[in-house]
């Protein structure tokens, strides 16, 4: 268990450090943030033509309200925490890969729903926007990641990590 905790912290710090480097920012974080605004705008324009996206900004042409999807708004940090936990937990690599893919999809899909909902809540009422953004959606994103994590653990074969825990010097991968 101590091994899981140590690995979790080390991988988490490493992933966050990599995320902050300029190459990762220019190759992944900024393009994904732009894409998130674009995906959100495309989804919204299906039923509302008065929306435009430019850069990381999603704006209503009806009333000018805009939300800016900045670094930290793109769901990447939540996904990194989930990925670090899955990499640290003793499990077969195939399960890890599937879990990471499912986790990324779940977190990012919910984040798109979050962005779109906040965009409309903000147009309706700024106080409700603040409350939803500061409390409601943070809790829902955490719950989403936690549910994915628990479901993933349940799908693991029961013997996946027991030998490693029982025999710490085993050559099994972490």
């Amino acid at each position: 268990m101590a091994r899981f905790f140590t690995l979790f912290v080390v991988i988490l710090l490493a992933l966050f450090a990599v995320e902050l480097t300029p190459p990762a920012q220019s190759a992944v974080v900024i393009p994904w943030t732009d894409a998130l605004a674009l995906i959100s705008a495309r989804l919204v324009t299906v039923f509302d033509p008065h929306v435009v996206a430019f850069g990381q900004t999603l704006q209503s042409t009806r009333n000018g309200f805009a939300i800016s999807i900045e670094a930290g708004c793109n769901g990447i940090e939540a996904a990194l925490i989930l990925i670090a936990a899955m990499l640290a937990f003793p499990a077969p690599w195939k399960h890890r890969a599937l879990g990471i893919l499912a986790g990324l999809a779940a977190v990012q899909a919910l984040n798109i729903v979050r962005v779109v909902s906040l965009f409309y809540i903000g147009q309706w009422n700024l106080e409700a926007f603040e409350w939803a953004h500061l409390y409601l959606w943070q809790a829902l994103i955490m719950l989403d990641a936690l549910i994915v994590w628990l479901l993933w653990i349940r799908t693991l074969p029961s013997a996946a990590y027991r030998p490693a825990e029982a025999e710490p010097r085993s050559s099994r991968a972490p």
């Binding site: 268990m1 899981f4 905790f5 979790f8 988490l12 732009d34 605004a37 674009l38 435009v52 996206a53 430019f54 850069g55 990381q56 900004t57 704006q59 042409t61 009806r62 009333n63 000018g64 309200f65 805009a66 939300i67 800016s68 999807i69 900045e70 930290g72 708004c73 793109n74 769901g75 940090e77 939540a78 925490i81 989930l82 670090a84 936990a85 640290a88 937990f89 003793p90 984040n111 979050r114 962005v115 906040l118 903000g122 700024l126 953004h133 500061l134 959606w137 943070q138 994103i141 955490m142 990641a145 936690l146 994590w149 628990l150 653990i153 029961s158 990590y161 027991r162 825990e165 029982a166």
Partner: protein, 300 residues
């Protein structure tokens, strides 16, 4: 700001010249290689000063600006006959009031503006030509997609019904449109569309008319207009800025949304998880992981 699109094409062209020269006999000739190296350098140098966004100074905060040197009533006029939505952003005039008949204005009205605003407008109008002397191509009047660059017309330009210009690029790309490089040029849009493509920003698009005005009717438009005379819009959806050396007249704006409104005051940031939430999520996952491991190791 400069765009990378033109630079890429110029340097790619230079690289092609080098590659073609490499395939020719005597490719190693030092003079030939020096000439090609100079061509590559020259291409890169041209790129370095392609499409420079003008410094708007204190005018950048305005969505609509009327700058009559002799301030008169009607320097800024907004009329909503019913279908309009209004002005989203700050409105400025050199007169001591604007003429507003039913327009919803979401932003402060500055009347009169400080003297520095007028001089910053003059500087921006003068500098946009000086900073962008080379034209990438002519301003198209048929439906097309434009990469970032400097587009010019010697005289007036009319973008007519059904025409759509798509400005395709990324968030830092810049488009400059110079109308009337021959000395006189008005810009007219009627039932036309100028829209952004990709992640490009309407706040990086600049239009400048020369000794003439700008008119947009029943159109969708993007960019900052630096009109050397009047600017008039009717039933037009516009993201950017409308700035006129004389009068700015809006009828049923659908709306006009300023860049400052989008980028600063109006744009709310929406972080997914705050610092404490990230710590809490990591803690929850760790606790759940511990619990699962403990349960499984205790299972017979």
């Amino acid at each position: 700001m400069s765009s990378s699109g033109a630079c890429k094409s110029e340097s790619q062209r230079a690289k092609r010249h080098v590659a073609e020269a490499d395939r020719r006999p005597g490719r190693g000739h030092p003079v030939a290689r020096a000439v090609l190296a100079f061509a590559t350098f020259a291409s890169a140098s041209i790129c370095a000063w392609a499409q420079v966004a003008p410094n708007l100074g204190t005018t950048a905060a305005f969505t609509v600006l009327g700058r009559n040197s002799i301030p008169t009533i009607g320097t800024v006029t907004c009329t909503d006959t019913g279908p309009g939505i209004g002005i989203v952003g700050q409105v400025g005039t050199t007169f001591n009031a604007i003429t507003n008949t039913g327009c919803a204005i979401t932003g402060p009205i500055v009347a009169p503006v400080a003297a520095g605003v007028a001089s910053d407008f003059d500087a921006a109008v003068a500098n946009i030509d000086l900073q962008n002397p080379l034209c990438t191509g002519a301003i198209p009047i048929v439906t097309t997609t434009l990469t970032p660059g400097v587009y010019c017309s010697a005289a007036a330009t009319t973008i007519g019904a059904g025409v759509t210009l798509t400005l395709q690029g990324n968030a830092t790309d810049v488009w400059i449109f110079r109308v009337g490089t021959g000395g006189l040029g008005a810009l007219t849009l009627t039932n036309a569309n100028v829209v952004m493509g990709g992640s490009a920003s309407p706040c990086n698009v600049y239009w400048k008319t020369t000794a003439a005005g700008m008119t947009a009717t029943d159109s969708t438009f993007v960019g900052t207009v630096l009109s050397d005379a009047a600017a008039t819009m009717t039933r037009t959806n516009w993201i950017g800025r409308m700035m006129a050396r004389t009068d700015a007249t809006l009828t049923d704006p659908l709306p006009i949304t300023g860049c400052a409104a989008a980028a600063a005051a109006g744009a709310a940031s929406a972080p997914t998880l705050s610092e404490w939430a990230m710590v809490m999520l990591a803690g929850l996952l760790a606790i759940a992981g511990f619990a699962a491991m403990r349960r499984r190791t205790m299972r017979p």
